[in-house]
C-alpha cells in the first residue's frame, strides 16, 4: 500500500477516541484518499473520562465533551449508523440501515459497551443505570441532581469507585457493593486495594466488600431496593451497574477474523488476524476493542481499556494503514489515571501476574504513596496515589524491566523502609 495513494478508500468503524486519533494519524502520515468514519452514536468523538467525574458532578455538560480534532472537511462522517457485518471478500461493510460502505483500508475501533445487569427486566427499571456514553451520563446526572435517598453502586472497579466517591462529594449517601475482598482488587490486588478502600470509607462511602447483589426490587417499574445474597436489603433510588465492559465485536461474526467478546486479535504490528492466525494487511484495530501481543510482557495477548492506550494505538494503526510506518510492533507502556473524588490514582505497566508489591514512597495509610509491582524479580508496574510526580521515574523502571524491589534513593521513603508484601491477586 503506497503512501499518498489517492485511489484507495479508508474507512474507520467506530467514532470514538481511537477512531479519531487513528484517522488524524492517517492524514498526518500522508494518506490523501477518501476517509470515512462510521459511528453508532449520533455524536462526533467525545471524551469519556469526564463522564464519571465532572459531568456527574454537574460541572460540565455531557455535550461539552467533544474532543478537539485536526480533521477537516475532507472526511466523511456517517454518525448514528452502526455496522453490522464485514465482508472481507468484497471489502464491504454492511450497515444496520441497509447501506454499504466499501473500503480498501479499514480501522476497527468499536470499543466496548457497559456490561448490562444480568436480569434484563431489573436492568430496565427506572433508577437503574449503566455508564458508558454521554447520554448515560446525562441521564445519571439528572437522577443524582434529583437528590436520591441513596445511590447503590454495584461493582468496585474504576468506574464504580469513581461514581461512589463522586456521590459523596455531592453529599449523597452511597453504598458500594463488591464481591471481592477490596475495591479495585482485580487491577491493583487486595493489598493496595485495601488502602483504596480505606480512602473511600474515609470519604463516607458505605463499602460492602465480600457482598453480592442478588436482585433489584421493582415497585411499579421503579428500582427501590437491592437484596444481597446474605439477605441484607439496601434501600436506594438509584443503582449504578458498574460491572465492567464487553467489547463490541459481534459485527465481526462471519468475517473470518479472530474475534470474541474479549476483543479482535491483532499481530504484533497491529494488523488483525483471521481465524487461521494470518494477518489481513488491509485491516488494523486499535483501542479498547483490540487484543494484541504486548512485547513488554513476553508477547502475552492483552486488551487494554485505557484512554492513553486508545490514543497511542490509534495513532500507530493510522500510520500503519497509511503505509507510513515500518511494521514494527506496537509497544506503548500501558498507563491510566482515575480520579476518585479529588484523589488521583495513576498507573504505569500491567500488574497482572505480579508476585510481590513494594511500597517505595509515601505512607500507604496516609493516602499518598507509590506501590511498585514485581514479578520474578523485575518491576512490572507502578501505581501512584496522589503522588503522580514520582510516577514517571518508576515508569522508566517498569519499561526497562529493572530489578525488583527497586533500588536507589527515594526522597520520601516510608518511615519503616520499603515494605514488600504479597499483592493479593485472586
Amino acid at each position: 500500500m503506497a503512501q499518498g495513494s489517492t485511489t484507495e478508500r479508508a474507512v474507520v468503524v467506530g467514532a470514538g477516541l481511537a477512531a479519531l486519533r487513528g484517522a488524524e494519524a492517517m492524514r498526518a502520515a500522508g494518506f490523501t484518499g477518501p476517509l470515512t468514519l462510521v459511528g453508532a452514536e449520533p455524536y462526533r468523538p467525545y471524551d469519556r473520562p469526564p463522564l464519571s467525574k465532572h459531568v456527574l458532578a454537574g460541572e460540565i455538560r455531557a455535550d461539552a465533551t467533544t474532543l478537539p480534532s485536526s480533521l477537516g472537511a475532507d472526511v466523511e462522517w456517517q454518525l448514528g449508523r452502526s455496522v453490522t457485518r464485514l465482508d472481507r471478500e468484497s471489502r464491504t461493510l454492511h450497515r444496520a440501515d441497509g447501506g454499504t460502505v466499501p473500503y480498501d483500508r479499514l480501522l476497527i475501533a468499536t470499543g466496548t459497551r457497559a456490561r448490562p445487569w444480568p436480569n434484563p427486566h431489573e436492568g430496565r427499571l427506572s433508577g437503574v443505570f449503566t455508564l458508558r456514553g454521554r447520554d448515560d451520563a446525562a441521564a445519571l446526572r439528572a437522577a443524582l441532581a434529583a437528590g436520591p435517598r441513596r445511590v447503590l453502586v454495584i461493582g468496585a472497579g474504576f468506574i464504580g469507585c469513581e461514581v461512589a466517591s463522586l456521590c459523596r462529594q455531592l453529599g449523597l449517601p452511597a453504598t458500594l457493593v463488591e464481591p471481592g475482598p477490596t475495591p479495585l482488587g482485580r487491577v491493583l490486588g487486595s493489598t493496595v486495594g485495601a488502602f483504596i478502600g480505606a480512602i473511600l470509607e474515609g470519604r463516607g462511602v458505605d463499602l460492602r466488600h465480600g457482598s453480592e447483589v442478588e436482585w433489584l426490587e421493582d415497585e411499579g417499574g421503579r428500582f427501590v431496593r437491592a437484596h444481597l445474597t446474605d439477605g441484607t436489603r439496601i434501600d436506594a433510588d438509584v443503582a449504578v451497574i458498574a460491572l465492567g465492559a464487553v467489547r463490541n465485536t459481534e459485527w465481526l461474526d462471519g468475517s473470518g477474523l479472530s474475534a470474541d467478546p474479549g476483543g479482535v486479535d491483532c499481530d504484533a504490528a497491529g494488523f488483525v488476524l483471521d481465524t487461521d492466525g494470518q494477518p489481513d494487511p488491509r485491516i488494523a484495530a486499535a483501542g479498547d476493542v483490540a487484543r494484541f501481543p504486548h512485547p513488554l510482557y513476553g508477547g502475552r495477548r492483552v486488551a487494554l481499556e485505557h484512554w492513553s492506550h486508545a490514543v497511542m494505538q490509534g495513532i500507530h494503526a493510522g500510520q500503519l494503514l497509511a503505509g507510513a510506518k515500518p511494521e514494527g510492533p506496537y509497544a506503548g507502556l500501558p498507563t491510566f489515571w482515575s480520579t476518585q473524588g479529588d484523589v488521583v490514582i495513576k498507573s504505569a505497566g500491567l500488574t497482572e501476574g505480579a508476585d510481590a508489591v513494594a511500597f517505595t514512597q509515601g505512607e500507604p495509610g496516609s493516602g499518598r504513596f507509590i506501590a511498585v509491582y514485581g514479578r520474578a524479580g523485575r518491576c512490572i508496574a507502578a501505581v501512584s496515589v496522589d503522588s503522580a510526580r514520582w510516577l514517571p521515574a518508576y515508569a522508566e523502571l517498569v519499561a526497562a524491566g529493572a530489578p525488583f524491589p527497586p533500588q536507589g534513593a527515594a526522597a520520601d521513603r516510608p518511615s519503616k523502609g520499603i515494605m514488600v508484601l504479597a499483592p493479593g491477586f485472586p
Partner: protein, 81 residues
C-alpha cells in the same frame, strides 16, 4: 451523508480542550494562566473546562503554552487553521 458538528447550540463555535491527564503532573501553570478554566482539586486532580467560549481563546492559548509537559490540546473551530 455528512452530519454537521453537534447541532446543540447556535452561538459562535467555542473551543475544544482536552488534557492528557496521564501526562499532567498537576504543575498548575495552566491554572495561573487561565484560572476560570483550569483548577487543581485536592492534591493533584486537574479540573478543566473542555468547552470554553470563543472569546476566552487568549486565556486558553496562554494555558496551553504554559503547560510544561504539553498535556493540553486545543481546537479552535473559529480560527481557521
Amino acid at each position: 451523508m455528512s452530519t454537521p458538528a453537534d447541532a446543540s447550540s447556535g452561538s459562535p463555535p467555542g473551543l475544544r480542550v482536552c488534557v492528557d491527564l496521564n501526562l499532567c503532573q498537576a504543575y498548575a501553570q495552566c491554572c495561573y494562566a487561565a484560572p476560570r478554566h483550569f483548577r487543581i482539586e485536592g492534591h493533584e486532580a486537574l479540573f478543566y473546562d473542555p468547552a470554553p467560549a470563543a472569546q476566552d481563546r487568549a486565556d486558553i492559548e496562554r494555558a496551553r503554552v504554559a503547560c510544561p509537559v504539553q498535556a493540553i490540546r486545543v481546537e479552535d473551530p473559529g480560527q481557521a487553521s
